[in-house]
Structures are given as C-alpha cells and as structure tokens.
C-alpha cells in the first residue's frame, strides 16, 4: 500500500511573527522555516505504518517555493521514500492546494493520504477535508490513533468532549492531531541518506487547475495586547479583588 504525505513549509513554531509596518503581510525575512509540526506527525505515522508492514511506499509532496525541498528532506530523514516538489509562487489557498493534490493522487494512486490537521501559519484546518470532498473519499480528522486492517482503516479522533472511533473504507484521508505520536529525531545516517532520495519537480501551473485566490487579503494586524495587571500578595487579597474590584466571583 502506498501512502501520500502532503507536507508544508511554514514559519517555525518557536518564531514570534511580526506584521509588516504597512499591514501587507507577515515579515518573513531571515525567519526560521520548518516542516509544519502536524505534518511531521503525519510523516512519523506513515513511517510507523511502513515499519509495521501496513504500507510499502511513502511519497511526500510539498507545494511551495524552491526552498520547500528542505521539508521534503526532513520527511525523507524520518522515513519517506521519495518526493515531489510543486513549485508555486506566493501562498496558495487550501482549495487550490487540494486541487493540485487531487491531480497528484490521480497519478500516484495512493490508498491513504495522511496530513496535518492544520498548518500553523494560516490555521485554516481545511486541506484534508477539501481533498476528501474533491476525491469523494472518506475522511477522519484530528486522528489520535490509526490502525489499518485489510481494505479498511480504524481511526480514533479527538472530538469536543472526548474521542470518537470511525472505520473508513480505503482509499481515505486522515488528518493528524498532536497526540497521534511523537516524531523521532532523525539520526545522522538517515539525514545523509535523505540527501540521496529522489525529488521530482513540477510547477503548480502545470496541473491545469484554477489557482486564482478567492479571498483578497485586505490587511494583517497584530491584535491589541493585553497589559499586565497588578501583583497581589496573598490569596485573601486576590479573592477580595475578584469580588470587589473585578466583580467576577
């Protein structure tokens, strides 16, 4: 069984992003970029499925600038076998990304697609579900456990109030939540090997899908900052303030 892994290059989770002074975008000059952390969990999960014998090949795809090669190499170092880089100028919306991925899937014919539940830049939480809709495949979002059994996959999902387990008929789409696994640290030999794994390059325009943005970004701004309040000296003083000053208890 072949698994396809869409992976995105995003601002590193530890970077505190700043909006450009004119509000036209986020200042990304000199900022550290990384594989989207939820996508890294997807790579780890696919690798474990391959190690268990449930999968035979892992193909990763990144849509973005030429530098997105780095995140494909990250995926290789964990366990992906080969990659595709779809070069796109600027940010593509999830709908356009899903349309490109659909075209890739039609050619690659994977039985399972695993990706992060959201990218930590635009926090859309859409791509996996859109892709499932376009393909007419079943979907399981926010996965915390994945087990393959024949032509079906059992997925436990994190939902409001607890967990839900569903059974999907393959081919299917799974999006990962935080607690699905903890990605391994790639060892040096794996990193060296990753440099030799093949990457096929194509341009986003070559898929013949409509990439035109549907949303016009009018402005980006930083939200108003909360100001630090006061320090109280004791529990008694705290409760007094909450009762008599803030009036919240």
């Amino acid at each position: 069984m072949k698994i396809l892994l869409p992976v995105k290059r995003v601002v590193d989770a530890n970077v505190h992003v700043r909006v450009k002074a004119d509000g036209s975008g986020v200042d990304l000059s000199g900022v550290k970029m990384s594989i989207n952390p939820f996508d890294e969990i997807a790579v780890e999960e696919a690798t474990r499925l391959k190690e268990k014998g449930s999968a035979t090949e892992i193909v990763c795809v990144s849509i973005g600038p030429a530098e997105a090669t780095e995140v494909l190499r990250n995926a290789f170092a964990i366990g992906a076998d080969r990659g595709q880089l779809v070069i796109a100028e600027g940010d593509l919306e999830p709908l356009a990304v899903a349309k490109i991925l659909k075209a890739v899937i039609k050619k690659e014919n994977p039985q399972l697609v695993i990706l992060g539940k959201q990218a930590i830049d635009y926090d859309n939480d859409q791509t996996g579900q859109m892709l499932a809709g376009l393909l007419g495949w079943p979907q399981a979002t926010c996965a915390s456990n994945v087990t393959i059994e024949g032509d079906q996959v059992h997925v436990t999902r994190e939902v409001d109030g607890g967990h839900q387990t569903v059974r999907l008929r393959l081919p299917a789409i799974i999006t990962c939540d935080l607690r699905l696994n903890t990605p391994r640290f790639a060892a040096l030999p794996s990193i060296m090997k990753a440099k030799k794994k093949p990457i096929e390059r194509k341009s986003a325009g070559s898929y013949g899908v409509d990439l035109k943005p549907r949303l016009q970004v009018l402005k980006l701004a930083e939200p108003p900052n909360r100001k630090a309040g006061i320090k109280v000296k004791s529990v008694t003083e705290l409760l007094d303030k909450l009762r008599n000053e803030a009036g919240v208890i």
Binding site: L95, Q118, Q129, C142, V166, V248
Partner: protein, 314 residues
C-alpha cells in the same frame, strides 16, 4: 441574502455554540435557516426554533446522521445549498470536520474561524496562533464560513420558527461509526463557562488535578482546563486543552494555576475578561497578560483559596 446555519447537537440538546454562531449569521443580514441533522433529534430542532433570529428549522432525522459523520452530513448540506448565499457552522470539532468538505464540493474557499463581520463579504479571522488578525474579502458568490463562537454573543430566545422535516439524501457509505468515549461531566462546558480554572505541568499528576483544581472549580461553578504540557504529560484529558490548537475560551474569569504561558496557550485565553495567574516563577510569561498575578506555590495557594471560598460560601 439567505443564510443556512448548521446546528450542533448530540441528538438531545442544542449546543450553545449554535446560539453564538447564530449571532454571526444574523449579522450578515437577511434570513437565517438552521439545519438540524441527526437521529431522533426533533427536540433539538424545537430548541433551535426558539432562538431569536431563526426563520425556519430544517429537520433531517435519519439513521445516517446519528453520529454526525462528515460524509453524509456534507452530502446533505450540499443538497440544500442552492438557495443560500452563505453556509455557516460553529468552529467546533464537528463544524471544522464537515464544512471544508462542503466548501470543496461547492467549489468555494472557506473562511475559517471568523471572529468579526465587517461587511457581508469581509471578515476578520485570527491566524498564526492568534498572533495576527487577517482581514479578508471573499470573491466567491456563495460563502462558507466557520465561526469562532467565543467572539459572538449568544442569540436570545423567544423565537417561534417553524420546523420543517426534510428527507435524507443518499449516504456515500464510505465511513462507519464504531465507538465513542465522551467524558460525562456535570461541570460547565469549557468553551461556554463563565469561569475557567486551568492547571499546567506544575500539577504533576492526574490526582493533583482532582485534589487541587477540582475543589475550586466546584466552589466557583467553573469548568476545568489544562495547558498542552499537562495534557501531553497525561495529567488531563485531551479535550481539556486550552490554547490555539485546543479550545479557545473567553470566560469572565480565567484562573491559570502553574501555567507558564506559552504563546499558543495565551492565544486561547486572550479574550477572557479577567485573567488570574498563580505561579511560583515571578518571571513566567503568563504574568505579562494577567490582570491579577499571585507569585506563590500552587500547592499552598490553591488549598488556601479553596478554604477561603468554602468559608464565604457557608
């Protein structure tokens, strides 16, 4: 302008997220219909009919909708979409699961997590873990929107909308419900509670949540939350996680005990009216956003607080 709002429920009770998303739907202008899809959920439809601002409730009652799976729900919503200019759902785990699938089937780019309506086609939404607010205008004729419910007030009651049963549509049948484990709790729900008390990694165990956090939650009628670190360490269940990748809360009072204040946690609480931080590290980032900070060891401060609250309640 005509809007369809996807109601959120457990086949018995309409969740408050729907009443909040309704306020967003109403602010688009025009009529708002609510669709309730489930099994044996007539009572839910009747609750939705009582919300002020609802023109009509569409009730799809069928076996296929019992567990609110994305595939049959999306098929139903797409079949209803034609007369509507906008389709909305609260940005809950269910809304986030179903609506992007609907959007793709309608060839629409969804606007996720809308926190403010500036015009019927222009919206604000948080991105980068809430560190940036993006203003977007959609060029799609039909709009598909998930609503950040903490940003909108609950719609009032007193409505008397008609409930109209509608037939189920063909179920793609590619997914099956197997089981669920929901935490039965008499406590207030995290995202709608007036008071929330959360614990961090400093709690050190599940037992300490019970011993130190619960007594205060009981006395204040508060919901209980946790930091991601506490959830990852197994001290608290996953659905207690407060933060950008967990639950977004906006209570009147938020008490953070033993939580240092990682960016992604702060993103989930910044709309709280009053934030209290109890932490023994005076340099913890949580103090930069707290209205009231108490530098203290939670193992002495929390029992003291519980005792004082017990005294004043007596």
């Amino acid at each position: 302008m005509k809007t369809l709002l996807v109601g959120e429920h457990d086949n018995k009770t309409l969740r408050e997220a729907t009443a909040k998303a309704l306020s967003c739907a109403v602010s688009l202008g025009g009529e708002v219909d609510v669709v309730i899809a489930g099994r044996g959920c007539r009572a839910v439809a009747e609750q939705a009919a009582q919300l002020s601002g609802v023109a009509k409730v569409l009730l799809a009652d069928a076996d296929a909708y019992e567990h609110i799976l994305a595939e049959p729900l999306a098929a139903l919503i797409v079949s209803l979409a034609a007369p509507y200019d906008a389709i909305l759902a609260p940005s809950t785990s269910s809304g986030r699961n179903i609506l992007p699938r609907v959007a793709a089937l309608l060839d629409v780019m969804q606007i996720s997590d809308v926190s403010r309506v500036l015009a019927p086609d222009t919206f604000e939404r948080p991105i980068y873990a809430g560190n940036v607010i993006e203003t977007v205008r959609t060029t799609d004729k039909k709009k598909v929107i998930t609503v950040r419910t903490t940003a909108f007030p609950r719609a009032a009651g007193g409505g008397t909308a008609p409930v109209e049963p509608i037939p189920a549509v063909a179920n793609p049948g590619t997914s099956q419900f197997e089981s669920e484990e929901l935490h039965a709790s008499a406590r207030a729900e995290l995202t709608s509670a007036r008071i929330v008390i959360s614990g961090g990694r400093a709690l050190q165990s599940r037992e300490n949540f019970t011993k130190y956090i619960e007594p205060i939650a009981d006395k204040l009628g508060a919901a209980i939350g946790a930091s991601r670190a506490a959830v990852d360490a197994g001290y608290a269940p996953n659905d207690w996680q407060v933060g950008q990748t967990g639950k977004i809360v906006a209570p009147d009072l938020y008490i953070a005990a033993g939580i240092s204040g990682a960016i992604q946690h702060l993103a989930g609480i910044k709309d709280a009216k009053v934030i209290v931080a109890i932490n023994k590290d005076p340099d913890a980032p949580i103090f930069h956003v707290a209205d009231y900070g108490l530098v203290a060891d939670l193992y002495t401060a929390l029992p003291e607080m519980a005792a004082e609250l017990a005294k004043s309640n007596a």
